[in-house]
């Protein structure tokens, strides 16, 4: 290593043993080859280097010639020197560097590092720790384009947030300033969250339209939208449906750390944990004595991989204002059977919550659904404001708690007699206040 470093010392004439060595090993015959490779300015450069005696590449590069030509000339002259002294892993870096790069010292840099590491292990560890923590803060915590890209690569792109915007689409009622403001706030909230963690955000127009040739299936688009989004993002795994009147209160929490890194622990398979609909679970022995063991079990096969849909429950049963569905064969089947014309014909007057009521029905009557369904405590992804679920105002499992820093608020049903804009604005302020510290703001 000693030889390499003195060889590239900028003082040129350095009379160390390395200098002598380099002079002795750089042969005369290499020069014509390098000239033939060089473009026009080289004629001057070579004349200078000839005049300079010894052919020091740094001098010519310092004179302002293109580094490429300098590198080429340098290589032409000193290829043999490089290849004999460098360890093999260093070769690519050596060709990329120009001689003017100040910290470049041939094989010497790494060599010196090796020596230093061997001599001062404690300093080395401190340096490494500093570098790692710096990288962690600026690539993982800090919000910038590079870290976003990295998060995308590191699993963020597995998640797609589907935001159902424009519900009703102004067909039923005129869309006023407040409705526009609610929509703007809600979209901005999800956009910032998705950007922060590298998730995809898909805003879907849910306006009431006659989308189908027959009059059936009007405003039952949830299933179609999910199917369409799954086709749009063929590499994503989990799809998070969010109604418009939701607000992510804690944008600094990622979905991975909140739910998916410990899916088994935050969800429950046995609906009896909280069963407002009083669904018989496991399926009754008299009616479903013929089904398989997994479907008979209260917890299915109890493995995280078999969870294909994660549903929160409110005081009235399933709530599909905020839920997760995974791309899988199971969900393909579920999305396919979810809407059926015979069921629609019989029940569409009765099922005012459309897909939600259908899912409850399917869960009750088709045992295979239970093997892929998991529930999540409502406040994990779907906390209610005091106005919703007015039947059970004291239930601690339902309502948003500022103290516990609940993740998402869903102002469910605010469009019927409550003030969506007021609620949204107040929760936005709460969220801003809770996340206002310098640490929260920047990391």
């Amino acid at each position: 290593m000693g030889s390499g470093s003195t060889f590239w010392g900028s003082d040129g004439g350095g009379g160390g043993d390395g200098g002598g060595e380099s002079r002795s090993t750089s042969p005369g015959p290499a020069l014509p080859i390098s000239r033939s490779h060089s473009p026009l300015p080289t004629s001057r450069a070579s004349s200078i280097s000839n005049g300079g005696g010894g052919g020091w590449a740094p001098k010519s590069a310092a004179n302002g010639y293109a580094p490429a030509s300098g590198a080429r000339r340098f290589l032409g002259k000193h290829l043999r020197k490089l290849s004999t002294s460098l360890p093999t892993y260093n070769r690519s870096t050596a060709t990329g560097f120009t001689p003017t790069t100040p910290y470049y010292r041939g094989g010497g840099f790494f060599g010196r590092m090796r020596g230093g590491m061997a001599r001062k292990p404690r300093t080395t560890w401190v340096c490494l720790l500093l570098i790692v923590s710096f990288l962690y803060v600026f690539l993982h915590l800090h919000h910038n384009p590079i870290s976003n890209r990295l998060r995308g690569v590191s699993g963020g792109s597995k998640f797609v947030i589907i935001l159902a915007a424009n519900q009703g689409g102004g067909v039923m009622t005129w869309k006023g300033a407040k409705e526009w403001a609610v929509e703007r706030d809600s979209i901005a909230n999800k956009k910032a969250y998705a950007e922060r963690w590298g998730y995809h955000l898909e805003i879907k127009d849910m306006s009431t339209k006659k989308r189908y040739a027959h009059e059936w299936r009007e405003s039952w688009e949830k299933v179609d939208v999910i199917k369409q989004t799954m086709r749009q993002y063929p590499k994503a795994e989990w799809f998070w449906w969010l109604d418009l009147h939701t607000f992510i209160m804690e944008p600094s929490i990622s979905l991975q750390s909140h739910i998916f890194n410990h899916l088994q622990n935050v969800t429950y398979r046995d609906i009896n944990v909280y069963n407002p609909l009083n669904i018989t679970h496991p399926p009754s022995k008299e009616e479903f004595f013929y089904i398989d063991e997994v479907a008979k079990s209260a917890v299915g096969d109890d493995r995280g991989e078999s969870i294909n849909i994660i549903v929160p429950q409110d005081c009235g049963g399933f709530n599909l204002g905020s839920f997760f569905i995974k791309r899988s064969e199971f969900s393909e089947r579920l999305l396919d059977i979810w809407w059926d014309p015979v069921g629609y014909e019989q029940k569409h007057m009765e099922w005012e919550h459309k897909e939600q009521d259908t899912l409850e029905y399917l869960y009750t009557h088709q045992p295979w659904i239970r093997t892929g369904t998991a529930f999540i405590p409502q406040r994990m992804i779907n906390a209610f404001p005091p106005g919703a679920c007015s039947e059970t105002p004291d239930d601690p499992r339902i309502f948003y708690s500022e103290k516990d820093r609940d993740f998402v608020v869903n102002m469910a049903g605010c469009e019927w007699g409550r003030d969506c804009w007021g609620e949204m604005a107040s929760y936005r302020k709460v969220s801003e206040r809770l996340n206002s510290g310098w640490w929260r703001k920047h990391f």
Partner: protein, 305 residues
């Protein structure tokens, strides 16, 4: 690479000359015990897996036949013959035989006894949990030639048997079977007659798809909808409306395992000598007699000696 000058031997500036630095992370003396440990762990892993895994018992049949008996309107003699016929075939090929009665699976309400085949197949699947194929064959059928096994008769040549791009409900329903589904993806094999799909003789492959399909078919919404032909129309309905079902379905020629008796109403693809199966699909109607028709063919059947 050729050098103009010879290298200068083992100099300190070239740290990677031969054997100057050991590249191994494991001290030399530890190699042999570590390899031994590794081999031991691998062996232990495979041993434990073979012992504890959901291994398939050696006596589990590959294929199970499902028979649901309707004893109410038939003599015991007739029922015994049906059972005997199925037993002959199951014994000849080492299949399981799952026999239940329609009264075991009351469909409830106004639904007819034909629905009971659906929970019966699911029950057979949960009983024989290591078996792969389940062949449901109606009581009104007689196996005429027990020599071919299901594997060689239907499952192996399935790719060439499959009828692609034909309407689900003849003659011209809009929904047709897929053109390019490979036989390996098929989970459900049946035939159709002049009127539509015939769930009187069908093969299902067990698994999550079969659970889904049977549960969806048996949904109370269909059971109590008063389809004109009950479970048959419900089947046609879900096949045509739900591509996840259609894509797993194979229609094969009717005579493969569903030849009709010449006396049946839609007498196409009627039985000829050498056919695998004969069925008497509407023999229960008042002017006919299932047992007479059945007995006429009873002695013509071949048996495996």
């Amino acid at each position: 690479m050729h050098f103009a000058l010879p290298t200068r031997g083992n100099h300190r500036s070239s740290p990677f000359l031969t054997n100057s630095v050991s590249r191994s992370y494991i001290p030399r003396g530890l190699h042999r015990p570590l390899y031994a440990l590794l081999i031991f762990l691998v062996l232990a892993f495979f041993l434990l897996r073979s012992l504890s895994g959901p291994g398939r018992p050696a006596d589990a049949p590959q294929t199970v036949m499902v028979l649901v008996l309707n004893r109410t309107d038939h003599s015991n003699e007739y029922i015994d013959k049906v059972v005997k016929n199925r037993q002959e075939y199951a014994n000849a090929h080492g299949y399981g035989l799952f026999i239940k009665s329609t009264t075991d699976y009351p469909p409830g309400g106004s639904a007819g006894s034909g629905w009971s085949r659906i929970p019966a197949i699911r029950h057979a699947m949960s009983t024989y949990k290591h078996s792969e194929y389940f062949w449901y064959l109606d009581q009104d059928a007689l196996i005429m030639d027990p020599t071919p096994s299901l594997e060689e008769h239907i499952l192996a040549p399935l790719n060439s048997l499959m009828r692609r791009d034909v309407p689900i409900v003849p003659p011209q329903s809009v929904i047709k079977t897929y053109k390019h589904v490979p036989a390996e993806r098929i989970q459900f094999i049946l035939t159709q007659d002049k009127l539509g799909l015939t769930p009187g003789s069908m093969i299902l492959k067990s698994g999550p798809w079969a659970n889904y399909f049977l549960d969806a078919w048996y949904d109370p919404m269909f059971r109590f909808y008063n389809f004109a032909r009950a479970e048959t129309h419900a089947l046609e309905h879900i096949v045509q409306w739900h591509p996840t079902i259609l894509t797993k379905l194979a229609l094969i020629p009717q005579k493969t395992f569903n030849s009709y008796s010449p006396l049946s109403e839609n007498a196409e693809n009627i039985y000829s000598d050498g056919d695998f199966i004969i069925r008497f699909p509407d023999c229960y109607k008042s002017e006919k007699n299932c047992e007479n028709e059945f007995n006429r063919y009873w002695d013509k059947r071949r048996t495996v000696s």
